[in-house]
Structure formats: C-alpha cells, structure tokens
C-alpha cells in the first residue's frame, strides 16, 4: 500500500546506516542502488566479484535511476547506477566529486505477439513511432503490409504495452522516438515518464517483466522491453529500420555497431539517439555506474578493482545475458577514468 514505499526506504536507510559500521573493521561492504535496466548483469557481476574476493561484499538495489541518483547525492550508498548518467546540476550537488563510468550497454527491442507467431516482422522508421502515438492501429495497416510482403498479417487491433513505472528504458526509448519523429517529440516528448496518448489500446504494465508478460498474454500486442528479457522469454521482436534505411535485428553485433557510433564527452556521457551506421541497431544505450572521487581509501581501492573486473572479466558474460560487450576504446577510457576514484 502507499505507506510501503516510505517504510521500505526507511528500512533500507537503517540497513545501510547500521551494516557497514559493524563490519568495516574486518570486511569491505560496498552498497549501491539505482537503475533496474542493468540489474541482471550487475547482480551476476557483483555476486561473482564477492565470491572471488574474500571479505568483500557488493550489494546493489534496483530502485530506479532517479532513486539511485538521490541516494548517491545523499551519500547513503557507496556507488549508484543510472541509465541517464547525471546532469551537470546533479553533479554539482555532490561535494566529493563524481566519476561516471559507462560499464555496460543494452538494446531495447519491440516485442510483439501475433497469431501464428510470424517471425522477422519488419517495422519501418515512419511506422513504429506512429504505432506508439496510437495512429497506426491495425496490424494489417497498408504501411506494415508493404514492409512485410511475405507475412500474412491479421486484421487485428494493435495493443501497445508501455511501462507504467518511470524508468531508464522509457527515457532511452522515447528519446529515440522523439529523434526520428517530430510528431512524437511534440505530442509525447521524452523522459523517464511521459504522457502517452490516451487510448483504450495503450495499456501499461510495471517493470520489464510485467510488460513482457502482458505482451505474451495479449494477441496483437507490441511493446518495448530490454533485449535481455526478450531473449530470456523467447519473445518475438521486430527488425527496425535504422537511419541508413536497413532493417536490423537486435543482437550483439548490431549493438556493437551502434555503440561504435557513440561519442562520449569528457565525463564519459553520451546518448545514441539515432545511430548512423548501416548495421547499427537503432535503440541502444550505455548505462552508468556512479562513483565518488573521494572516499575511504579501502573502499576506493575495492571500487577500482570492481570497475576493473566489470570491464574485463565481466564483459565476457554480457553477450549471454543480453547486454552488449563494450568496445575497446570505451574500456580504455573507463580504465583511465576509474583512477579518479580515490
């Protein structure tokens, strides 16, 4: 119920306040919170890292990027995760300095559920923003049929499934749609939560798993989820037309092609709104680990080791978990930047 959230926060704060003090003498405990987008891979990494290093425990709570940044600013955590990195204003609020590290990256796919499970549905650039605007409402819309001459598309209403909670996934997806469709930018815009068009055929479900389950149970549904979830649940997802006009399927290779087009600023921030490469999958993003520049020497030491682990050993499981292994140049940049954690 509605008082659960403050209570949960209260308990977490108590847990955070109590636990490190007791064990710090012997062990190192790193506590983080934030984005849920990278949670599956973070939890795998941190578990493995804790196992390999005796006396070191890394805990991560997937509360959402916004909450992560808030915890980070209030110094209730040792590090945080955010899909939207941090803005300059947010960075200015942290007196101990911030290091932003894009330790992993992921793709967002458009999963669909059609009777007969037709594979490899192609969605052109001018069509999928219109689907999410509620303007293309039938699966046998001439524009979709024209792009998929080999598929038999039913006379079925399109049910759009969106995220009900605020999320980094929303942020990345709406940013992309706004970049390729001026109308979407004007009517919906971009952000972690946006005002979607009001329609009986646009429904919302909580979190990636909620959206996935709703798509799977609703004939005629389409929705955006992380590639990892689509892979895990074997959902069908569409090939999207990129800036170069090619229809590209989300996978590791096309994701890497997308990351290659990214330009990172001096703080290692950079969003890929509409990648230009011919093989690039249109919707992909980095997700950032936030660390303080100044802290307890022992914690800083282990944080650097953790980052080192994430960008080297950690990257080998990216592929199987549905994330994109980082390009070499980004790894090198992260290694340089992580030296700032002191």
């Amino acid at each position: 119920m509605y008082w659960r959230a403050p209570f949960a926060v209260f308990f977490i704060v108590v847990a955070i306040a109590v636990s490190p003090g007791k064990v710090a003498a012997q062990n190192v405990k790193l506590i983080g919170s934030g984005a849920s987008f990278p949670f599956p891979i973070y939890s795998a990494w941190f578990k493995d890292f804790s196992k390999k290093n005796d006396g070191v425990t890394v805990d991560y709570q997937a509360k959402g990027s916004g909450a992560g940044i808030q915890d980070f600013t209030n110094r209730t955590v040792d590090f945080a995760g955010s899909d939207a990195a941090m803005t300059d204003e947010e960075i200015a609020k942290v007196t101990d300095g911030v290091v932003l590290l894009p330790v992993t990256a992921g793709e967002i796919v458009l999963a669909y559920n059609l009777p007969g499970n037709p594979k490899d549905l192609k969605l052109p650039r001018d069509v999928y923003p219109d689907i999410f605007l509620g303007k293309v409402t039938k699966w046998n819309d001439p524009k979709i049929v024209a792009a998929n001459p080999s598929l038999k598309l039913p006379d079925l209403q399109i049910t759009v499934v969106r995220r009900s909670d605020a999320s980094g996934t929303n942020f990345v997806f709406t940013k992309h749609l706004s970049a390729i469709s001026p109308e979407f930018a004007k009517e919906v815009g971009s952000g972690t939560t946006v005002q979607w068009p009001k329609s009986d055929k646009i429904v919302a479900a909580p979190k990636n798993d909620g959206v996935t389950a709703t798509i799977k149970q609703t004939p005629g549904a389409i929705g955006y989820i992380e590639y990892g979830y689509a892979k895990l649940t074997k959902a069908d997802f569409a090939l999207l037309q990129n800036k170069a006009g090619q229809f590209v399927l989300a996978d590791t290779k096309s994701g890497q092609a997308t990351l290659a087009t990214a330009t990172l600023d001096s703080r290692l921030r950079g969003w890929i709104e509409d990648p230009a490469g011919p093989d690039a999958y249109p919707i992909a993003t980095f997700t950032w680990l936030l660390a303080y520049k100044k802290q307890d020497a022992k914690k800083a030491d282990w944080l650097r080791k953790l980052v080192e682990y994430c960008v080297t050993t950690g990257q080998s499981i990216s592929d199987s978990m549905g994330y994109i292994p980082l390009p070499e140049n980004v790894v090198a940049k992260i290694k340089t930047a992580s030296a700032q954690i002191q």
């Binding site: 119920m1 509605y2 008082w3 659960r4 959230a5 403050p6 509360k63 959402g64 990027s65 916004g66 909450a67 209403q157 049910t159 499934v161 009900s164 909670d165 605020a166 999320s167 815009g189 952000g191 972690t192 939560t193 946006v194 005002q195 979607w196 009001k198 329609s199 009986d200 055929k201 646009i202 429904v203 919302a204 479900a205 909580p206 909620g210 389950a213 709703t214 149970q217 609703t218 005629g220 549904a221």
Partner: protein
C-alpha cells in the same frame, strides 16, 4: 503509583480480602500498558498523516483543488492531476465490493446456517481464509495468465453485440478494469466472508429457533431474521473489504492497464491511486514526490470517508434492528 486505597480496609477474619498491593500494581500497570498501546496507534496514524501532509503541502499550495479534477499526469510540464485515478479507484473497488461482497456473504451464510456438518464448514472456512495468505503479486500473475485469457472471448462478444452500451464500449485486449475488479473481488472475499461468518455466528441460535417456532421456512429464517440481525457485522465486513480494495496495489498495477483516462467501459484500461503511487514513487523527482504525497493524502481521505460512512450505516441499521429510533 497511587497509594493502595484498600490498605487496612479488610475486616478481621473475613473470607474475602482486599487486593494485595501486588495485584493492585499489576492492575494499574496493565491499564497503563493498554492506554499506551492505544495512544501509540493513534499517535502513529497522526504521525503518518503529519508526515504525508507535510510533504504534500507544497503540492497542495501549487495545485489547490484543481489537482482533484485535472486529468493530466505530466512530469515534463509538472502538471499533475488525479481525477482518472480517483475514478478508477472507486470504480474498481465498488465493482469488486459488489462481486466480492455478494459471494462473501453467500459463503458466510452457507458455512454458518447448518448447510454443512460443522467440521466440513471449518475446512471450508480455512480454505477461504488461505486466500488471504496469497501474495498480491501472485494474484496479479494469475490475473494475467488465467483471468484475462478466460474472460477475453466473453468480453469481446459482449462488445460486439452490446457495444452501444457504454459499459461494454470497448474491446478487451488485455489488462483492463474488469479483470482487475474480478481479481480484487477474490482478494477481498476472505475478509468479507470471515467477518460475516463471525457476525452470523454471534447471533444466538435461539433467535433462529424462535423464528422457526413462529413458522418461518429456512430461507425466511436466514434472510429475514439471521442476516438482518447480523447486519451490523456484515456491514463492517463490507467496509473492511472495501477499504482493502481501495488500498490494494500490486495486483492492480499489473492488471488494470495503468491508463490515465476516464471511461465507463468495463473493458477499457484504467488507473488507481495506489497503483499510481507504486509505479511512480521509485523514480520520482522532488516535485513529483510532492504531487504523489498529495495523491496519497487523497487516498487516505477516501478511505476515511468510506470508513465513516460504514460506521454511520452500522449505527443506523443497529438502531433500526434494536427498535430504537
């Protein structure tokens, strides 16, 4: 502690004794403990109200009562309103109460009015109460995987032939008001059934025997004597069930479709206050949190009004039954 007033009051050689100072202390101590417990609860409610109210205050100043009638929830423009949420909360809860209340009362009658051997009734009762132990999220998943596919054909058939009636004015694609209300009805069923059973059990059996003695049939005895006599308890069962429905979060967030719109259609997606709070809290910025706190305050107010109405109904029915007016 006050001095023992009974000290030295005992007449010599009496069989009875005044309470010893030990008993006296225990009695006073226990009384103090209960007073503390009771006032702590009131303090806690006050504290929650004060906390939520305090955080909601900036939003109350900013949006005034327009918050209650605006239909937007736009973080980018910081333009917030909760009319669709109020509508969805009341609509789904009332629907759930009608369905769950009906079945809950029926079950209670079935289990208390000698339809079943006592032991079997106990087994049934336990099974129904087990429903209350199922986590909300499991109900949500069950709704997605079982209820929605089951009612979709019926709903869409109704839409096809009766679509001109506003209640069936849209087709059911997946999540929507009806599946949410159905699952909600099942979730409040144990509350309604258990308290109604207690209320019916409290009616002295002789009342029923007297009714039979006056020549009533079984159904007349149940519907015209037993149920009205237990009406107070049954009404409070309904109020508690309704309260539970108002605050239910997770299952609804999964089933109602979270669409910020007002529609009479049972098959259209809607949104509730609790579900809005649950889905927006984790990522909310400072101003949105204030708006959410305002929404939480409204939910509290709705619950309060419902409880007060319930108490009022209770008082009136009891007065009527006991013959005083």
């Amino acid at each position: 502690m006050a001095a023992n007033a009974f000290e030295g009051a005992a007449p010599r050689g009496a069989i009875t004794q005044p309470p010893s100072s030990n008993e006296y202390l225990t009695d006073r101590g226990f009384r103090l403990l209960t007073v503390c417990g009771a006032s702590l609860i009131i303090l806690l409610v006050g504290y929650i109200l004060w906390k939520i109210g305090g955080q909601a205050l900036p939003a109350i100043y900013r949006y005034h009562l327009g918050f209650l009638i605006s239909t937007n929830w736009n973080v980018a423009d910081q333009n917030f309103g909760i009319l669709p949420e109020i509508w969805g909360t009341l609509y789904s809860s009332i629907l759930a109460l009608v369905i769950g209340g009906f079945f809950g009362l029926t079950v209670a009658i079935f289990l208390t009015q000698d339809f079943l051997p006592l032991r079997l009734a106990l087994v049934f009762r336990t099974i129904i109460e087990m429903l209350a132990a199922i986590p909300s999220v499991v109900f949500g998943l069950w709704g997605i995987f079982v209820v929605i596919p089951a009612i979709r054909p019926i709903a869409n058939w109704l839409y096809d032939i009766l679509g001109w009636i506003p209640f069936f004015g849209s087709s059911l694609s997946g999540p929507g008001l009806l599946p949410a209300a159905l699952v909600l009805a099942i979730m409040i069923l144990p509350t309604v059934a258990a308290i109604s059973q207690d209320a019916l059990n409290l009616v002295p059996y002789r009342t029923k025997e007297a009714a039979y003695g006056l020549g009533t049939t079984r159904w007349e005895a149940i519907l015209k004597v037993m149920v009205p006599t237990a009406a107070g308890g049954i009404a409070s069962a309904m109020v508690l069930g309704f309260g539970r429905a108002l605050g239910e979060t997770m299952a609804l967030a999964m089933l109602i479709g979270n669409s910020n719109q007002i529609s009479l259609s049972l098959f259209a997606p809607a949104q509730t206050l609790a579900s809005l709070l649950a889905s927006h809290f984790p990522e909310a910025g400072a101003i949105e949190v204030q708006a959410l706190m305002y929404a939480a305050l409204v939910l509290l107010a709705i619950t309060l009004v419902v409880n007060m109405m319930g108490t009022a109904i209770l008082t009136i029915t009891q007065r009527r039954i006991s013959g005083r007016s």
